[in-house]
């Protein structure tokens, strides 16, 4: 069994008003050194696969077909063995 830790983020060309709003809040904390806040999604999923390459293929397909919308989002993931 494998676990996929998936990150879905807005593409750099897409404005992220939510990230902007959070950045303003961070600035009002006094943390002026923080910039370029972008909000994304984190998804965990277990994958029953023969080997890591297989698990990677499954994760790739699920990301491409459902978890991320390629018009506005990018994705990345790590695969690790688990119980």
């Amino acid at each position: 069994m494998y676990i996929a830790r998936i990150r879905v983020t807005l593409r750099p060309s897409i404005l992220d008003p939510q990230g902007k709003a959070v950045q303003h809040a961070i600035a009002s904390l006094g943390a002026g050194a923080v910039s370029d806040v972008r909000i994304g999604k984190y998804i965990e999923a277990k994958i029953d696969a023969k080997n890591e390459a297989d698990a990677r293929r499954t994760a790739e397909e699920v990301c491409r077909k459902l978890l991320a919308n390629p018009v506005m989002e990018d994705y990345s993931f790590d695969i690790a063995g688990t119980e």
Partner: protein
């Protein structure tokens, strides 16, 4: 003419759409439950507003896997008219029946108010009862209506007259102030290449009853019905056990 209104878990404008078609426009209208892969021989499909599947993951992302959506896609590819309103527009985009995405409103706020849209293309079967440049007043109610697409697609939409509605002011000017959500090029509604699938954020079905004083939304329904009754062929998918209904 027979309308089919798709009902997803979380749809909340389904009854309004049914009411507009049956009680106001005096046509047949049936509900199409998302689990049923049967369009019941309808002549047009409406994907209503709401929050299908709670807007989980992304608006419309889960709804496109419903059994009914496979049939809707087949219906659309055979030329059947499909109107996606608000959340229905989001579902059409996620299903790949229209290009682009709807991002979070630039204000980050849910916008619920009357807006105006300018009819950019009055030659579609959804707008043929309007005149080009006509300004319609319709309500919007959404948090994700900020249309976005890549520059190449935008150019194609512009060039082919597929931007059917843009947000505008009372005089018909497309301005930043008149745009409720930050939508690219003021886009409020687009149509597919074949001209039979329209997605729009404003709610025509909420502006049909004379009791509510504003009946601008009737023009869309009247256009569809007019194009159907004038004999323009409206194809339905050939399914076993269903006779094809001719326009």
């Amino acid at each position: 003419m027979k309308f089919g209104v798709v009902v997803f878990p979380g749809s909340n404008c389904d009854h309004d759409a049914w009411y507009a078609c049956s009680k106001i426009m005096e046509q047949d209208a049936v509900f199409l439950w998302h689990k049923e892969a049967d369009l019941k021989g309808v002549d047009a499909v409406i994907l209503p507003g709401g929050f299908a599947y709670g807007d989980y993951l992304r608006c419309g992302a889960i709804a496109r896997f419903s059994p009914v959506m496979k049939e809707v896609a087949r219906f659309a590819s055979s030329g059947g008219p499909v109107l996606g309103i608000c959340n229905g527009f989001q579902v059409l985009l996620e299903a790949g029946l229209l290009p682009g995405v709807l991002l979070r409103n630039s204000s980050l706020r849910f916008v619920c108010k009357y807006i105006r849209i300018r009819v950019e293309n009055a030659a579609t079967r959804f707008t043929q009862r309007c005149v080009p440049g006509e300004v319609l007043s319709l309500p919007v109610a959404h948090g994700e209506g900020n249309y976005f697409t890549d520059p190449a697609t935008l150019e194609r939409l512009e060039g082919d007259g597929r931007i059917v509605f843009r947000y505008c002011d009372a005089a018909g000017a497309v301005t930043r102030e008149a745009n409720p959500n930050g939508s690219l090029a003021g886009i409020a509604g687009i149509i597919n290449e074949a001209g039979n699938v329209l997605g729009m954020m404003p709610h025509p079905e909420r502006a049909v009853d004379p009791v509510l004083r504003n009946t601008d939304g009737q023009k869309l329904f009247a256009s569809l019905i007019g194009s159907f009754l004038s004999g323009e062929p409206v194809l339905v998918p050939a399914r076993p056990g269903h006779d094809a209904v001719a326009g």
